[in-house]
Subunit: 115 residues, 2 copies
């Protein structure tokens, strides 16, 4: 009765940030152009405070970065978090090719730390 598998704090923050549909929509918006909090809020049915909270979580997941410009905060898409999540998922790609199944087992057994 123990957790025993290596967990990556960065991947956790990225996946957590990606789990909310509003946050994923924010990322799509920011893929078009950098936007301030007020500008982003115009596109969502919620208050600026709520959008700001989502932006904080996206920042913690390193999916966006924030640049200060006077009284404005400009939100910008960031690669790091995407790459963290993609890297975690890429481990599983091998399992969809049945030819590699035998090799899989050896690698998988190394990724998992037994208790």
């Amino acid at each position: 009765m123990q957790t025993s598998i290596v967990e990556n704090a960065q991947a956790q923050n990225a996946f957590k940030a990606l789990a909310d549909p509003t946050r994923r929509n924010i990322l799509l918006r920011l893929s078009v152009e950098d936007l301030t909090i007020a500008e982003l809020t115009q596109h969502f049915p919620m208050t600026r405070a709520a959008v700001k909270k989502h932006l904080l979580i996206l920042e913690q997941g390193q999916l966006i970065s924030v640049r200060v410009n006077g009284r404005e905060k400009i939100n910008h898409l960031e690669a790091t978090g995407f790459k963290d999540a993609q890297a975690w998922m890429s481990y599983f790609d091998q399992f969809w090719d049945s030819k590699l199944m035998a090799l899989n087992m050896a690698i998988a057994n190394q990724q998992i730390q037994n208790d």
Copy 2:
């Protein structure tokens, strides 16, 4: 003040399932071998009921499938959910190559439905 971007229900279920560290650990376990609920529970510091709840969410995200064998339920890794999440994220890959930035804007503007 409106949500305006296309959202995919499958991607939502997959990302939601991936957001929890216990569930990601379950997926790693299942990458080694198919396991019953009871077998999985041995590796985690929680009750069978809790593990079962996680398995339901993983199934809804199409990250696993369940096969009945007598009184046992055997949990098996499934590609669909992974591919859903990876497909959603792959849209952003283009933004990390600055050479493609000009092309980006045109594509992005099509992906987003204006209000």
